[in-house]
Structures are given as C-alpha cells and as structure tokens.
Amino acid sequence: MIFRLAIASLFARAITVGMTILAIALSVALFLGVEKVRTGAKDSFADTISGTDIIVGARSGSVQLLLYSVFRIGNATNNITWESYQDITERPEVEWIVPISLGDSHRQFRVMGTSVEFFQHYKYRQGRALELADGIIMSDLFDAVIGADVATTLGYSTGDPIIVAHGLASFTEHEDQPFRISGVLEKTGTPVDRTVIVSMEAIEAIHVDWKSGAKIPGQTTPVDQIRQMELTPKALTAALIGVENPLRTFALQRAINEYSQEPLLAILPGVALQELWGIVGIAETALLAVSTMVVVTALIGLMATIFSSLNERRREMAIFRAMGARPATILGLLVLESILIALMGAALGMVLLYVTLVIAQPMVDQAYGLWLPIDAPSWREVRVGLAVVAASAIVSLIPALRAYRMSLEDGMTVRT
C-alpha cells in the first residue's frame, strides 16, 4: 500500500514529476543514442569489408588508404601502375586480386572502375556477397552497375542511361561516352550502395580523349572506334587481395611494402581499422563524456525537484510520523519515489530512443550511409538504464536525509 501511495503522491505532483521524468528520459535517450551511433558506426565500418586480407595502394598512410579504397572518403595521393599490379597478381601468395580505380563521379556518387571479380570477392557483414536486385553485372564496355542508394536517390533503374563526370567536383562530363545501367545492387549498408560500378576498361575508354586530367581540345573519338581500341588500364587506385594461405599474409604484405619498382603500401584492413578507432577514440570519449554529463544534469534536476518539494510535503511527513512511521520510512519513501521517477524516465528514454531510431534510420542511412540497426535493447542498454536508476537512488539520499532530519525535528507537528 505504501508503494501505491508513493505512486499516488507522484501523480499528485504530475507536472513537476512529469518534467523530471521527461528530463531523465531525454538524457537517457541521448546517452543511448550516442552509444547506438557510436557502435552503429563502428559496426558499419567493420562490416564494410570482410574476407579481404590485404589492400594495396600508393604509399601514403594506412588509414588514408583504407578510407579512400573502401569507404570512398578522401582521395589517393597517387596511383599504382598496371605493371606493378601485374607483378603482385603473379605472386604465389595471391589467391585473388581485384583492381579499383576511383576518381570520377556521377552526381554526388563516386564512380568505381573494377573487374567483374569484384562482385565475386567483395564481401561485407561477415562474408555476405553482393547481390543484384535487378539486371546483370557489366557485360558491355559501357555497362554500369549501381548501388541501392544511387538507384533510390536518383530514381534510376535498369536500362537507364547515365553520364559520368570527370573528377569529383567537376562540371565536365564524359557525355560522348554514356553508360547504360545493367544492374542494380541490393542494399548492403556499405559505401557500395552509393557507388556506380563500371569496368576498368570503361574508365580507360572514357579517358581516351583526355590527357593529364584535361580534355584534349577538338578530339572526340567515336564510341565504335573506342570499342576497337586496346583498353588495358595504365594505372589503378588500389587493389583488394585475398591470400592463398592466411599464414602467408604478412609475407605478402612485407613483399609489397618492399617492392622496389614503385613505392607501394599494403595494409591489413582490420589493423588499419583499429588504427582508425585509435584516432577517433578521443572524439568518442568526449562525446560519451558530454552525454554522461547530460544524464548527471538530469539527476541533479531530480534531486532539486525532491528538495523543493520537501517543504510543501512536511504535512505529509507529519501524518506518516503520527501514524507510526519511522524517520527511516520517510527516507525510504523519498528514495523509492526517486527510483520510480528514474525507472519511468529510463523506460520512456528507451521508448523515445527507439521511436527516434525508427524515424531517423532511413534518413541517417541516406544522408551519412550509416545503418543503425533496430534490435531489442541490449544487456548494455539495460545496464545503463539500471545505472541511472541506481544513481537516482544515490542522489536522492541527499534530500531524503534532509527529510529524515526534518521528520525527527517536526515529529507529528504539522508545519506548512
């Protein structure tokens, strides 16, 4: 019955208590939301590449190579020559190798030149392969396969023509060599969704009339003539490698890093990813600290609410004391109220978080390519909720001890 009276007492102060619950709910939702985004981003990054043992690019930083080759963030400082690529291909440790050529774009999406083996060997989210939602992979020189986000954002479907722009922020288009969409990929939650994939030869073909990054004035080679030309690439941006024997991974990495004809860099994706987490770790910690402070602020608000209610509740305490309640019971009642407020706040915070996730998930995915999974609350999230409840019980001890002293002083004398 005391429990029921505590709830009734809370309802009697519905507006103040409601505001406190809302403050706790928002802080819990923010804290868990930051956690969701943090873990979602980590998982999303980690899930982007799977089954690739080594990534090779021009010598730069390992994180930079990982970012531009896998995540399409930033640019390569240099290319790899086709000859070096061939040398690596012929090494006995190499089971498969997929070239990647980046540099052009279509609207806001990157265009990536590669071989058809990319569709066979590129794996994401613990070994899942790319699948076509519609159409086929490139069979013609000017065929393009587009990611799910490209199709959704631009309203493209199989058979539609697209024109690739030169570079990433250029107004010059390769309008003389239009592509045709041969296939649309299923959604993967990786940067592939925001990529237009063409063949390495196609990249070469659209640059036939270009030299040193600029179009040769007055030169327009007919498409039919281009089709007859030798289109072996001269250079590529990076290559994804699968090794024959995992034990030979480090040997291959060392061999590539010590390659004498050209300065190359071979990285292990997992190691580079760890390096990346190390870099963003400080920002992560800062973000976590800020959201923790928001929770602490909400708990201080709870404490202030209880403090401010003490005077107006002296009558209530005197009644309890007159009925035989011990001062410790008064203390317990206030702590119980705080626990109830925090429980309701934490539960509402969870609801707010999941409602926000349902609404924001497609928008975040669309805007940032970040897939935030909507799973049942994890044990970690439940623990956060419980920690908030425990912390509320601790902070409420301060006003509760004041109430304890007041009830000792007042006894059953009603002071209002």
Binding site: M1, A8, M323, G324, R326
Partner: protein, 195 residues
Amino acid sequence: MLLGESGSGKSTLLSMICGTVLVEDGSVEVAGQDLSKLSAGQRDRLRAEQIGVIFQQFNLLPFGTVLDNVLLPLNFAPQRKSRVGDGRAVAAKLCTDLGLPPGVMFARARDLSVGQQQRVAVARALIGTPRLIVADEPTSALDAQSQALFLQQLFDQAAINKTSVLMVSHDERLGDQFDRVVRMEDITDDNRVAA
C-alpha cells in the same frame, strides 16, 4: 481532556505522549511503558500500535482514497493489522458507522467535504482498536452543532472499541463531556498526570 491557552504547551505534551518529543526531566508512561526507556524505533512502534491520532485540520493524505487514509496506520503496526483482519471490510464498517456514505471509500480525500474528512480522520484513528486516541483540538474549526455530533460519534466508537480519548482543547465548555479535565496551568513539577 487537556485544557490550556494557546502557547501553553498542549501540543508539545501530546508529542511527548506520542513519543516524538522526549522529556528532559520526569517520565511519560503510555500503556504501561516508560517512553524514556524505549528506543526511538520502539516508541514509533508503540505509537503505531497503541495510539490513534486526530489532528486539528484532520490532515488526510489528499492524494489517497478514503480507504488508503483509513488503512494507513496499519502499515506501521503489524499487531493492529492482525487485530483488524479484513482491513477493507473493517474500514468500510467504521466509515459507515461514522455516517459516511458507502460509495465514498474510493474517493480521493481532497474531494471530500470538511465533515466527511473529519469522519475519515476519526475512522483512521480508531481502526485496529488502539488503546488511546490523541486528538489535538479537533473541534476548533467546527460550529457548535458539528462539534457535538463529532464528539458523540467519537465517544460512541471509542466506547465500542474500549479506547481512551485524550483531547486537547481551549474550549472549557467541552469539559463536561469528559471523565477528567486537566488544565495545563495546574500541572506542576510534582504532579503526576495520568491519562
């Protein structure tokens, strides 16, 4: 009845009897127990088990129902609770005997009239048959007719329960209705005041 002017220490004396204020000198015995020899917890338990309190303003929990308010003392008094048995039924009977309409049991205390609140306060003090009812000027806000009715109901129920009533008042006219009247100004250091 305990008679005295305002500021004469009537309420303090009641608090001493109820065990929430300790005497610095002398002793207070309630139901045969010297309160100064009891721990704070034992005094709280004694108050819960043996004493029913009626405040000047009735002081119900406004957010609780009539039933919640009447049953409130039983939360702190296990023996009183076991004496009651079916608390809801006993509370309902007490309220009916005190003239409360049957449908009022689940109404919030804040929604009751003053007269109804007064009866609920009496029912709360009487439930579980405590040995003593302590009433701190419960009739001060009532007109003469309501005072008489209130006291009649209180005495009737106290008689049924064999409960003593110690009432504080500054209205000498009420003294006729009590077996014994003690004036605060008559209490001296040598007096032994027995209720």
